[in-house]
């Protein structure tokens, strides 16, 4: 169970690493996701745009394995992972962060990362070695160091702090650091900039850009309300409306499209655009 980067790790840029085929999910009479298909290629950054209730988070849950779909399938690196639990999907190469950060509150920052690293190098069930001394060395030997990722994410000075004592933005960073320490092939980020300050959001985008520069084969799917995030990061933006993908294309195309403007600002806002973009 060495984990590694999973079945998406060896994909070359442009090769499809994840395929979503016609997934559907209803909660009672509400069709949250109504037949969505999309393909994510290695190195691609896909932005999922959509107003509240459009089904973005449900689609995320389905892709990450936290929400079982009513129909359709998810393929990762050619394997059908639709029925796989989240932990098994992680080993197939999917990493994920949540809209509201989910962290191990009573653990220290470095312990939080250690849990992720132990899972990644297949040491979760090791009950006789020290997580303080042996694990960081072992992780480093397998190129999954705890300290390097803390330094990269700007958390090194907080490494011995208890996660529960950190700010919202810092906890978000801890969650991202834990996922990054595992080097997933696909990173699903649900609202990475929600609830943090503009300065923190800028830092986060810069962090993602530097990771992309370091690992160009990493595929990222992210949702956001923040158009600036899409503009700086995304190669392709999908607009979700009422559980379906209403529009897809380059960020600039989607941003200025009337469907986007109508769903975000109401149709009256279109009149305020420059003449050529209405």
């Amino acid at each position: 169970m060495s984990g590694g980067t999973g079945s998406t790790g060896s994909a070359s840029i442009g090769e499809a690493v994840m395929e979503v085929r016609e997934v559907r999910k209803a909660f009672g009479s509400v069709q949250a996701v109504a037949g969505v298909s999309l393909t994510v290629a290695a190195g691609q950054v896909v932005g999922l745009l959509g107003p509240n209730g459009a089904g973005k988070s449900t689609l995320f849950g389905i892709m990450a394995g936290a929400v079982p779909p009513d129909g359709g399938s998810i393929l990762v690196g050619g394997h059908d992972v639709t029925s796989w639990d989240p932990w098994k999907r992680r080993r197939a190469g999917i990493g994920r962060t949540f809209q509201v950060p989910r962290t191990f509150e009573r653990l220290t920052v470095s312990d939080h990362i250690a849990v992720a690293v132990a899972a990644e190098i297949g040491s979760t069930f090791n009950g006789w070695r020290s997580a303080d001394r042996w694990l960081p060395r072992r992780a480093l030997a397998k190129d999954r160091g705890i300290m390097p990722v803390l330094e990269m994410t700007g958390l090194a000075h907080l490494s011995s702090r208890v996660v529960g004592s950190l700010s919202f933005g810092e906890r978000k960073r801890v969650e991202i650091a834990a996922v990054l320490s595992q080097r997933p092939g696909i990173l699903l980020m649900d609202e990475p900039t929600a609830g943090i300050s503009a300065a923190e959001a800028t830092d986060l985008v810069e962090l993602l850009e530097s990771i992309k520069a370091e690992r160009p084969e990493l595929a990222i799917v992210l949702t956001s309300h923040d158009m600036d995030v899409f503009f700086r990061l995304a190669d392709e933006v999908l607009l979700m409306l009422s559980g379906t993908i209403a529009l897809r294309g380059a960020p600039e195309y989607v941003r200025t499209h009337e469907a986007t403007i109508d769903s975000y600002l109401g149709s009256s806002a279109r009149n305020q655009l420059p003449e050529g973009q209405r």
């Binding site: 936290a66 220290t108 069930f125 009950g127």
Partner: protein, 362 residues
């Protein structure tokens, strides 16, 4: 910042002074305090065996199996964060196996029989895992309680294990040529088991496995998302928890020389949980301290009367809820906070109440 300082960690419950500090440093393995804990137990044993009367030796011989049982139970209650009301099943299960094997000649029986008791208890944990591994909070508590109560009813009506009256004449087997039946020899035997298990638990607590258990307690979905197979991890942790509690059962059976179906009763599970909470379940030493204090008070102040045990359980809960949410192990920290004028520090409702009524899954 130097790398060595970056690798330093804080315990789950922060604080470096007093009892919690010692326990924290011990859990982190910074002070070589395995030796200190071993020394404290050995000296206590020496003093009790040498200078105290037989009356107190019997309390001491009761304290040790409960230290082991509470520490084992705490893997479920404190590490993975699930209030089990079924650990009497493993505790009494271990005791009954020891009783049935008391007259069988097992090679190196003094060591092997308790290990067999532990293995049987671990096997008993498997059906419980199957039923309850995806449940948390009060759902988990009720499920474990029901399973243990079913076994209680079965044992009470099963003549092979003595039915309602249980089994008697349960004595520890010889260690080679050495008889361990005298209370002095048995005290040394118990104290060695206690030391070995506490040291083993500390290593396990700080291992990737122990750390992952605590991560699952904090957020099961996040742990699973990070690739931790949470169900399998819980099954293994419950088996280890049962294994240690089963060993404790054997030592209790030897200490009391009898076993009875009342040991399977749910209130025994409740007592083990209270010991964990009383001492402080977010540390390795907390449950041991909780067990020692609980048994000491029950025996010395209330002469083991049943209604007094209920009062003690209730009193412990009141203490934890109103004054010491972190258990006895946090007492130094609490006093310091009060001295600093921050009397409300750490006085949030204890986490176990929140956990008990949290979501049922993961």
């Amino acid at each position: 910042m130097r790398p060595s300082s970056l690798l330093r960690r804080q315990p789950d419950a922060p604080g470096d002074g007093g009892l919690a500090g010692l326990a924290g440093r011990w859990a982190r393995g910074q002070t070589g305090a395995d030796v200190i804990v071993a020394a404290v137990l050995v000296i206590a044993n020496l003093v009790i065996v040498t200078w105290f009367g037989t009356g107190f030796i019997f309390v001491w011989l009761l304290i040790m199996p409960y230290i082991i049982a509470a520490s084992g139970t705490n893997i479920t209650v404190g590490w993975t964060g699930r209030l089990s009301f079924g650990h009497a099943l493993f505790f009494a299960g271990g005791a009954y196996v020891a009783a049935k094997l008391a007259t069988t000649n097992v090679p190196a029986g003094a060591v092997v029989v308790p290990l067999i008791c532990g293995i049987v208890a671990a096997a008993l944990s498997v059906p419980l895992s199957v039923v309850a591994h995806k449940r948390r909070g009060v759902y988990f508590s009720v499920l474990t309680l029901i399973v243990a109560q079913i076994v209680y009813s079965v044992v009470q009506n099963w003549s092979w294990v003595g039915g309602g009256s249980g089994l008697s004449n349960v004595y520890v087997q010889n260690l080679g040529p050495i008889s361990l039946v005298s209370s002095d020899a048995f005290a040394w035997y118990s104290v060695i088991w206690t030391i070995v298990i506490l040291i083993g638990l500390r290593a396990l607590y700080r291992s990737p496995f122990g750390l992952s258990c605590r991560a699952v307690r904090e957020d099961g979905l996040q742990a699973e998302t990070l690739g931790v197979p949470t169900s399998r991890l819980f099954t293994v942790s419950l088996a280890i928890s049962a294994f240690i509690t089963g060993i404790a059962g054997a030592i209790l059976a030897y200490s009391e020389t009898t076993v009875s179906p009342t040991q399977f009763y749910w209130s025994v599970s409740g007592t083990l949980v209270v010991m964990c909470l009383l001492g402080g379940r977010f540390s390795v030493l907390g449950p041991a301290i909780g067990a020692a204090v609980y048994i000491f008070i029950q025996d010395q102040l209330f002469q083991n009367s049943a209604s007094a045990a209920d009062a003690l359980t209730g009193g412990s809960f009141l203490l934890i809820v109103l004054v010491l949410p972190g258990g006895l192990i946090s007492i130094g920290e609490r006093i310091r906070a009060m001295r600093a004028g921050d009397s409300a520090a750490g006085l949030q409702p204890p986490d176990f109440l929140r956990e008990l009524f949290a979501d049922s899954k993961r």
